[in-house]
Symmetry: C3
Subunit: 154 residues, 3 copies
Amino acid sequence: MDVSRLVELNAAYARAIDNEKFEEWPDFFLDPCLYKVTTADNVAQGFEAGVIYADSRGMLRDRVSSLRIANIYERQRYRHIVGLPVVLDEKDGTAETETPFLIVRIMRDGRMEVFATGCYRDKVRMDAANTPRFAERIVVCDGGRFDTLVAIPF
Amino acid sequence: MDVSRLVELNAAYARAIDNEKFEEWPDFFLDPCLYKVTTADNVAQGFEAGVIYADSRGMLRDRVSSLRIANIYERQRYRHIVGLPVVLDEKDGTAETETPFLIVRIMRDGRMEVFATGCYRDKVRMDAANTPRFAERIVVCDGGRFDTLVAIPF
Amino acid sequence: MDVSRLVELNAAYARAIDNEKFEEWPDFFLDPCLYKVTTADNVAQGFEAGVIYADSRGMLRDRVSSLRIANIYERQRYRHIVGLPVVLDEKDGTAETETPFLIVRIMRDGRMEVFATGCYRDKVRMDAANTPRFAERIVVCDGGRFDTLVAIPF
C-alpha cells in the first residue's frame, strides 16, 4: 500500500475527531473491525483486554452516541498531532503499521495540556471502493489517566 | 497540487519562524493575500474578524518590523510541529487544505509549555515561478490566551 | 535523495527509541559518524562542543550500555513526534536536512510533560546496501534542562 494513502487516512481521521465530527469516525473502520484503547503497561504485561473495546461499526456508533450525551456539559477541545506511519509488514492486501500520536486537550479557559501520547498499531485494508480503512486500530497509550466513560475517540 | 509540495511549503514556513528568520515570512504569501489569526470559538460563532489580520505582503512586513522592536526584551523561542495537510478541494489551480499545528514556547530558563494548537485553513496557489504560496492562511487557534501585540507569526 | 526515504528513516529512528529498542539505535548511523546533542544557545554563540558527543557506532553502543545500567531504576517513557524534513542541500550523494522534533516524557504515575523540542541537523547518505543512514545527526535542543548522564538518545 502506498504510504501516502496511509498518511491521508491518518490525517483525515485526526481531522474528523478534532473538528468534532464524531459521527464520521466509525466510517474510518471496516465492519467488522477491532478498535481497542490500551496502555503500554498493559501491552508489556501481556494483558489482552483494553480499557475501551469495539468490534463493529455499530459499537463505534454507540460509543459516539453516549459521548454526545455525556459531553453535554464538557467544553474541552482536542488536537491530534499524528506522526508518520512506519510500515511493519504487508501481506494479502493488509498493511501493518505503527504511527505515533500526541493529543493536546484545550480547556474552556484556554489552558492546554498534553492529554495523551502513544502509538496506533493498525491493520489497514482497502474497502470495496478502494478507500483505505482500519481493519484494526489498537491505540497504545504511553500513560493512562483518562476517564474511559467520556473519552473522545483516540 | 501534489501533496508533497504542500508538505514542503508547510515545513519551510515553520522552519523560517522557528529559526527566527521572520523577514522571510511574508514571502510565503502571494500579494495580495489574506492572513488571519482567529480562534475556534470565533469561527463557531460566525465572527469574521480575526485577532490578527493582514491582506498584503506589506502588512506582513510591517508586522515583522514591530515584532523586531517589541521583542528586544523577549527571550523565548518557539517550535512548530506541523501535521499533515488534508486537501479538501482543488479548483482553478487553488488547493484548499487544512493542516493541524502545535506550537511549544521555550522560556529563557528552559521551561517549555504548549503555547498554541490549532489548524491552518489555507488556500495555496503556484506563483509565476511555480513555487507554492499562500493566497490565504487562516490560523484557527484552539485556545486563545496569547498577546496579539507581540505574538510571533503563527 | 527521495524525501520519502528521509521520512522513513526519521520515523524508524523515533520508533526504535520510543519502543526502547536502544540497541538498534547505533545502526541508524554510518560508521564513522557524528552524533552530537547541543542547544540553540550554544549554536548561536558559536560553541562547537555539544553536551553529548559520539563519532562512531562503538561510542553510540557504549552510550546505550551505560544507559541500560543507569536506567535500572528509571521508569519514565518517551514519545517522539518528528516533523517533516526540510532538504537544504544535496551533493555527492549526501542530503543535508533539518527536521523539527518534540519529545514528551511520560512518568510512571501517568503525568506527561514536554521534555525537549528542537531540530535535527542531519547529513544522510545511503550505505552499501542502499539504506539511508546518518553520517551526521546534530541534535539542537531549544531548551536545555536534561541530565546528560542518563538521557535517552534524542
